[in-house]
C-alpha cells in the first residue's frame, strides 16, 4: 500500500475532529458514533493494525472505514503540514484494499453492483436518464459551448431532478450555450473512486472521456460538486483536458446581468458549503456572490461555514449507503438544527446530494414549517423578473 508508511505518523491529536474555532465536533463520523475508532486518527491506527494483521477483517472494521464521508475536514484542520494532504488518500487506498478482499459493507457492495449492472445507484434503466428534462425543451449536446452534466442524482433522484431542472433553467436565463447528453449521459464515478472501487471508476471515466472527446466537448458545467471534482481533479489523470465549472461558478460570473424583480419579500438565507466545492476545491465565494445579488435576500452565516462547514454526511457514497445513519446525531440533522438556529427561512445548497440529505434532515427534525432547503438555482428562480 502506497500510503502505508504514513499511517503510523498520525499522532491522534484530534485537531482533525474540530473546526478552526474548536466550537464543536466537525468530523461527521466521529460526531455521529463518538468512539475514537470513528475519528480520522482512530481510522488510521486501525488501518495500519489491519494491514499488519493485528486486527482482522470484520463488519465493524468495514463500517468504520466506510463511515467516513470524505468531507476533508481532517485534511483542512490537521496541524501536520504535507502529512495532512495524504490523510484521505490513505483512507481511500485502505478502502481499495478492503474492496480487494470482498469484505465491504453490504450497502457498499449493493452500490457497486448497481453501478455495474445498471450504470446508476437507483437501479433504473439508462433510458430513463433524460426524464428530468421532460417539458424543458433542452438541446442535445452538439458542440454548444458547454456540456451540462447532471449526474445520477440529478437524473434519477426526485430531489436531484428538481435541482437539475432549476439549473438548466438558470443557464437558459443566463443565455449560456449548452447541451445535454440526456439518456446518453453516464455516471461520473466520483463516489466509486471515494469508495475504493478504483477499477470500475477508471473504466467509467475512460469511457466518458472517450465519448466527450468524440463529441468535441471542451467545457463542462456540472450540477453536482462531486461531478465537478471528478472531472476537474480525477479525469485529467486519465487523459481528460476539459474546462470544468460548477454551475454556481458560472452563475456568479453573470448574476449581476440577470433581471430580478424590483421589490421582493425579504428573506433570511443561510448557505451550506458543499464539501466537494468548498474544502476539496476551495470555492467559497461563488455561492455568496449569487446570494448577494438576489433582491431581498439577507445572508446569515452559520457558525461553521466555508472551510469549517459541517458536512451533511452524504459524501464518500453515504448518500446511498447510509452508513452514517439518520439518528438525531447524524451530521445532516445536526446541520439542519444549526441552520435553523440562525433564524434563516431558507437553507441554500449547491449540491443535489446535500439537498437530499438536508431535506430529509429538516423533516426528521420537524423544521419544515420554518426552514426550506433550496438549491441556489431554485432560489434564483424565485427572484427572477417576469419575462
Amino acid at each position: 500500500m502506497e500510503h502505508f508508511d504514513i499511517l503510523h505518523r498520525c499522532f491522534r491529536c484530534g485537531y482533525c475532529k474540530l473546526p478552526s474555532n474548536y466550537s464543536d465536533l466537525n468530523c461527521p463520523s466521529y460526531l455521529n458514533f463518538r468512539f475514537e475508532t470513528y475519528s480520522p486518527g482512530g481510522r488510521m491506527w486501525l488501518l495500519r493494525a489491519w494491514l499488519e494483521g493485528e486486527i482482522k477483517t470484520s463488519p465493524r472494521f468495514a463500517e468504520i472505514l466506510y463511515s467516513c464521508a470524505t468531507c476533508g475536514n481532517c485534511v483542512e484542520h490537521c496541524v501536520f503540514p504535507k502529512f495532512k494532504d495524504d490523510i484521505l488518500k490513505a483512507l481511500i487506498e485502505g478502502r481499495e484494499r478492503l474492496v480487494e478482499t470482498g469484505a465491504v459493507p453490504p450497502a457498499v457492495r449493493d452500490y457497486f453492483k448497481s453501478i455495474h449492472l445498471y450504470g446508476n445507484p437507483y437501479k433504473l434503466p439508462e433510458a430513463d436518464r433524460a426524464k428530468w428534462t421532460d417539458g424543458l425543451d433542452l438541446e442535445s449536446y452538439s458542440e454548444q459551448e458547454y456540456l451540462l452534466y447532471v449526474g445520477c442524482v440529478g437524473s434519477y433522484g426526485e430531489r436531484g431532478q428538481k435541482s437539475a431542472r432549476a439549473v438548466a433553467a438558470l443557464l437558459k436565463t443566463m443565455k449560456i450555450s449548452f447541451g445535454i447528453l440526456g439518456s446518453e449521459e453516464r455516471c461520473d464515478g466520483n463516489e466509486l473512486k471515494s469508495m475504493g472501487e478504483k477499477g470500475l471508476f477508471e473504466l467509467i471515466a475512460e469511457e466518458n472521456i472517450r465519448k466527450y472527446k468524440k463529441l468535441g466537448v471542451k467545457k463542462i458545467v456540472t450540477l453536482s460538486p462531486h461531478s465537478y471534482h471528478a472531472f476537474k481533479n480525477e479525469y485529467p489523470l486519465l487523459g481528460a483536458d476539459f474546462e470544468v465549472v460548477h454551475y454556481s461558478q458560472l452563475a456568479a460570473r453573470t448574476i449581476r446581468k440577470i433581471g430580478f424583480k424590483r421589490s421582493e419579500v425579504p428573506v433570511t438565507v443561510t448557505f451550506h458549503d458543499p464539501c466537494y466545492l468548498g474544502r476539496h476545491n476551495k470555492e467559497y465565494e461563488a455561492a455568496r456572490k449569487i446570494l448577494g445579488a438576489l433582491p431581498g435576500v439577507q445572508l446569515k452565516e452559520m457558525d461553521r461555514s466555508g472551510k469549517d462547514a459541517l458536512c451533511c454526511g452524504g459524501g464518500g457514497g453515504n448518500v446511498f449507503t447510509d452508513i452514517l445513519g439518520a439518528g438525531p446525531h447524524s451530521p445532516a440533522r445536526v446541520r439542519a438544527r444549526e441552520a435553523a438556529g440562525t433564524g434563516a427561512q431558507i437553507l441554500a445548497v449547491a449540491c443535489p446530494g446535500c439537498s437530499r440529505m438536508l431535506d430529509d434532515a429538516v423533516k426528521a427534525e420537524s423544521l419544515q414549517d420554518n426552514l426550506q432547503v433550496m438549491d441556489l438555482a431554485e432560489l434564483v428562480a424565485t427572484r427572477l423578473a417576469p419575462e
Binding site: R9, C13, G14, Y15, N21, F35, K56, S58, F61, V79
Partner: protein, 459 residues
Amino acid sequence: MNETYSELAGIVGERYVSNEPEEKFIYSRDQGTMEPCDPDFVVMPDSTEEVRQIVLLANRKGIPIVPMGGGLVLSGLSRPLKGGVVLDMKRMNRILQVNETSRYAIVEAGASQGMLQAYLKKHHPSLKHSVPDAPPIATVGGNVLIHGSGHLSHAAGFHSEMLNGMEAVLPTGEVVRLGSCATSPYWFSRAPLPDLAGLFLGWTGTTGVVTKLAIRLYPNRPFNDVGVFVVEDPEIVPDILHRVTGVGLAEDISAWMTPKPDWAEGFIHINVNYSADSKDELGWKKNLIRAPLRKYMDEKTGGFMMLPLPMKKPFLEAPASQLTRFADVRKGGGFEYVGAIMPIELFPEAHQMGLDIAERCGTTYSTGARIIGMGHCMMFFFAYPFNRADPSDVKRAGTALEQTNRGALDMGGIPWKAEAPAQKQILQRMDENTRELMSRVRRMLDPKGIMNPGNWEVD
C-alpha cells in the same frame, strides 16, 4: 461477559457500548511508550445517572473502571491495566453555566478545552479560562484532575487550583458534590468547607468518576503581547524567573530549549506573556516586566529578542499548535514527555540532565518549563518524540523517559501524570505514613478496588 454487555447497553444504549476488537485496540493504548492493555468494554455515558449505574454494576461484578477524557495524557493513564470498562466521558461535554459576575464556568467532565474556549469567545468575550497546550480536544476535566497547567498558570497556579468544586460518583455509587456547591446553589469556591476535592485531584481516576466541575475564569483582555528573554547560562535562569515572576504582571511564563531551528541552539528562551485593556497599559506592563531584568541586559548576559509579528503569532496562540507539530519531528507519530514538578532553583540541574540524557540516548534535546504561580514551582518537561513504527526507537524513548523520571526524583522533583512504573518510583520514595494514608483512603472509598486498578498501588 454477554450479560455484562447487555447490562451496560441497558444503561447507555447499545450504540454507546462496545466490546469489539476495533475499540479494544484503540482504547488499549495512547500516543506514548506504554504497552497496550485491552479493555473488556468501552462505554460512553451521557449523564451522571448513567455513570452511577455503570459504577454500581461494576461494583456488583467487581469489574475495573477506567475513566478517560481526551485520551491525550500520553503516559498511559487511561489504559485499563487490569481490563474492565474504559469510560469514555466525551459524550458528557455540556457547558452548563457561566457565571460572568463571579467568573466561573460549570462544565461536564467531557467538555473539551476547545469547546469551552469557543463558547466563551462567542457568549462571554470578556472572559477566558486557562488553556493548556494540549490539543483543543483535550478535556477541561481531565486536565484539572491531573494537576495540569496552562496559559494563566503564572497568574493563578495549577489548573487544579482554579477548581471551584465538582460533582463525582464514588466507587460505591454515591453522587457527591464537593466545594461550595455541596451547600449552596453557587459553585464559587472550595472554601470555607473541609476541602474534599483533593480526594480526586492527582489520583488518576483511582478514587471515583468526576462528572462535573466548576473552574475559574479570568479577564480576557483585548491587547496581548509576548517578550522572549534569551540567555545562554542556565545558572542565572532561577534568578531571572524569580525577578520576572516577582513583578506579578505576566499571565504565563515558559522557557524552551531546543537545537531547532538553528538559531535557537545553545540558548534558553523565556517567553513572558501578558495582556492589557489598552495599548498604553500594555506598554506600561512591558516596561515593568523588563525593568528587573535590566541587570542582565546591562551585563549582556541576557536580552529580549527582536520579534517580528509573524514570529510572535505562534507564541500568542493558545493552545500552541506548534507544540503538537513537534510530535512528528521523527516522522513517527509517537511522543511522550516527563513533566516534572519542581522548584525553580532546580532549573540548571534539570536543564543539564536533559542534555545528558539526550546525548546518552542518541536523541536531540528538547526541554522547557512552565512557571506555576508566582514562581512557586515549575513544570519542567523533557520531551521525547519517537517513531511508533520502529520498536527500537520506542524502546529508546522509553529508556530516556525512565531515566528522566528517576533523575527528576533524585534532584527533588516529582514526575507529573506519571506512568504506572513512575508512580511506583514515587511511592517508594514517599513518606511511609503518607503512602499508608493513600492506601487507607483508597480502601475506604473503593472497598472492591474497581477504580483504575494498577495505578498508585504499592505491590
